[in-house]
Symmetry: C2
Subunit: 506 residues, 2 copies
């Protein structure tokens, strides 16, 4: 059995290496690649992905998994070996259910859909994208059928991002959350708005960069095992457990993009850098799910980076970088400014209090489309109605509405909810770790993050993808993903900032 | 047959894409990779190379080549299709002669030899490297045997870098060249030395970089299809015909490294960027050989970049960048300084007049080792004797002698002569293109390089690896690689700089 396990690992290492190469090619594409290299890069990525897929779904791996499964059941289910066989087998069975013809057609359809979406958004003409989205939707329905029977047609799609999670679970979570968030932003809307005009000034780009570096170095980001570069869209890309890179963008007239973007991506990177080396080069050498990943980026960005203790330490530093812009802005004003709540049309610009509503809208629409309750042609109207209901806004055009996100044009359905679930998990973990680290606020106030990072590594990071997201959250916090901590967090934080104590009956 | 050719191309595209991915991983390793990423990167490169090798040597490709060969013979031998089948078949037959066990043992032995060499060089202790070099030599002799019968045991090794070239040819070329070069440097040694002290001053690194960019932009290097980064050792790396990158290093107190290094690498890059797109993603999408590649880097570095017409145009620009350092150095002094001839111990620092002698020494030693006429234990002594005979110098230690180059530690035998052959080819081409472009000097004097680059593209670059080096040189210049033009060039150039007219009876 040991031999077979070694054989399996050797094959998985090769798959990982191919994926790692593709990861670096993708990183380069968005950072340093000369513009004319795009066409060849597309071919290279396509070849690497195809070869990785063929290798992972090879009969040889299937046979080894088959033979190893009884052995895996004899092991401690928490052991690396049992988890490796279990997780790999699950993924193998999923991937081998999808016929090569579907994969080829999907690649073809999305490769046309993506530029069509870009053009539709540029011209704000949904009609240009509509036929492509219809084809994608049709393909996604057929994809779900490969996994029949299912509880809900959306389940197989969600499962690609949140292994083991069911649509009904996400719906229940969001149903509990939605009225509370809507009530909160309605209450905030009744209050005087806080000032954040000082964030919109010229800020030297090099100094912005340096401050971000200072912050994430304090977080514990290890520059021997990572680096930061500029890219139009910030992202984190690991090519191994010892090389997890981040990118950021710097706006010359707005502080938030680089400041919080850098912390966000560092949160993703710290997660992957904390995975146990014993899991290297296997399917376990990644985050447990997109939501769990997002919980880590959001924790460092919001629970740390938008907190008062954090700025008690770092604000004097930031003022030293920008005396002209921030010298006369006091800490309290700054803190409120970076936490300003204001319903807006664009998801990626949304604040903590409104963000999840953007997600719920998308989840409901995706489910309705999959179920057939909503047709693509009626999508812009459905979008705008929900925007009005949840956020009190109606987009002036589709570019700022239904066409704003790239995801559907790439065929990704089931992705959006991971953003909101990540927010919820971040606070759920935070409540738990505050109990374990009673002086967490004091540590943060001193600019010390080693205990926090150590806790995350010990309780979460090191496990990699050994456990499914719900199981992992349960193990750490004692319950599955739960919206209550997040609601408490929003109410307390924004209750204080906006003076809502009476309104929300805190 | 068309279908089979398409099948062959599809398979070769995949091999190329794997190699291109490895190329990018290698580029990243030497430019941006965080230090801790090295181990995983080594694994990734090893996997990609293994998969590329397995795919290229697959029975499927063998069968297609077999079936296509009669078809290839019915085609115009200069056609892309005939060349593709011919060149691929030759490479396939070479690679499939080498057993997997040898490849594995070679990888193992060289992976140990390389750090041993680094340590031996650091401590200047040849004994530390000796047993590794003995193993490598043994492996290289066994490698040659896979290609028996051969004219000379060194032929199969040389062929890996210079397809089709024989040891006897290289020996004949070098035999004709050596006495002339030795006589030249002896004559120079009798003359007053030229001054180059002004090259050794503090030069702002950013300005050095900018000047280099200005020069190679004038050469025609296309920044949409390439980029320049810093690395400890300069190199050129293509990841496709539309993405050929260069690196350089900048010394704060010495002008030459960045200045001529940038031109050298740009020469390599211009070659690959000029290959016909019809050859993309195939074994023909590369230079004809290392020597032909080197002819292009040396041409731009030396025949253009160390010429008087070039500096008649660019020297005022360089003085404007560095008025303090060069404002009082006149053009003639500068020109002589950058062309100073001075026998030295280290190959990579050698000037044009002495460089080839470093190569001849290595070639003779490699051949003697392979033939068994020289034993590894006697290598340092053999090295030092030849250094004295050719350059009049004896290394004070092995670090500055036999241990200076990395090549043998990586198992590369047969590589060195390509550097000298490249020098010869560069001048041979130059004589030809001067006949075709009578006002070449005037164009260079105006900073115009479009006609030169156009000539190189038309006559050389576009062919990629369609023709073997000797055939290619013959097609362009009317004769095979010939040392006479290089001798004429050295004698004229350095005759003028050192006032040797009488001595060399010009």
């Amino acid at each position: 059995m040991e031999t077979k396990l070694t054989q399996l690992k050797e094959l998985l290492y090769e798959v990982y290496d191919l994926q790692a190469a593709a990861a670096l090619l993708g990183w380069d594409q968005q950072t340093y690649m000369p513009p004319a290299g795009a066409e060849a890069r597309g071919q290279q990525l396509s070849t690497l992905e195809k070869l990785a897929h063929l290798k992972f779904t090879s009969p040889e791996i299937g046979r080894l998994l088959e033979e190893l499964s009884p052995f895996a059941e004899s092991l401690d289910p928490d052991s690396d070996e049992a988890a490796l066989i279990r997780v790999t087998r699950r993924e193998y069975e999923k991937r081998t259910r999808v016929p090569a013809e579907w994969v080829a057609e999907f690649a073809q359809v999305t490769s046309l859909a993506h530029p069509a979406w870009a053009q539709a958004r540029a011209e704000s003409k949904f009609e240009l994208f509509r036929p492509h989205l219809e084809r994608i939707l049709d393909l996604r329905r057929r994809y779900a059928e490969f996994f029949a029977p299912y509880e809900h047609v959306y389940d197989p799609l969600l499962d690609d991002f949140e292994p083991g999670m069911k649509t009904a679970e996400v719906q229940a979570i969001f149903q509990a959350l939605r009225p509370k968030q809507v009530a909160l932003i309605q209450a905030i809307a009744q209050k005087p708005q806080v000032d954040d005009s000082f964030l919109h000034q010229p800020f030297d780009e090099e100094k912005q960069w340096q401050f971000g570096v200072e912050v994430i170095t304090a977080f514990g980001y290890d520059w021997q095992r990572g680096r930061q570069d500029k890219s139009p869209h910030p992202f984190t890309q690991g090519t191994s457990l010892d090389d997890v890179r981040i990118t950021t963008r710097v706006y010359p007239n707005f502080l938030n993009a680089a400041l919080f973007g850098t912390m966000h991506e560092a949160g993703h990177a710290l997660y992957e850098l904390g995975i146990d080396r014993a899991l290297a080069r296997t399917p376990l050498a990644s985050g447990a799910s997109l939501a769990v990943h997002e919980s880590q980026s959001r924790m460092w960005e919001n629970l740390v980076g938008r907190s008062l203790p954090f700025w008690e330490h770092f604000y004097p530093r930031l003022q030293a970088y920008f005396p002209e812009q921030l010298g006369r802005v006091d800490l309290e004003t700054f803190y409120k400014g970076i936490n300003r709540v204001s319903p807006s049309l664009i998801r990626v610009e949304a604040d903590e209090a409104t963000y999840n509503l953007h997600i719920m809208l998308r989840l409901e629409i995706e489910i309705a489309l999959l179920e057939g309750a909503l047709e693509v042609k009626d999508l812009p109207q459905a979008w705008n109605e929900r925007m009005q209901a949840y956020l009190g806004l109606t987009p002036p055009n589709d570019a700022q509405g239904v066409l704003q996100d790239i995801h559907w044009s790439m065929g990704m359905f089931g992705y959006f909810s991971t953003y909101a679930l990540g927010n919820l998990i971040s606070v759920q973990l935070w409540e738990r770790l505050r109990r374990d680290i009673p002086d967490l606020d004091e540590q943060i106030r001193r600019g010390e993050f080693a205990t926090l990072l150590g806790w995350l590594r010990q309780n979460l990071h090191r496990h990699g993808a050994k456990f499914q997201p719900q199981e992992l959250v349960q193990r750490i916090t004692g319950s599955k993903i739960d919206p209550a901590p997040y609601v408490r967090y929003l109410q307390t934080k924004f209750g204080r900032i906006y003076g809502l104590e009476e309104d929300l009956a805190l």
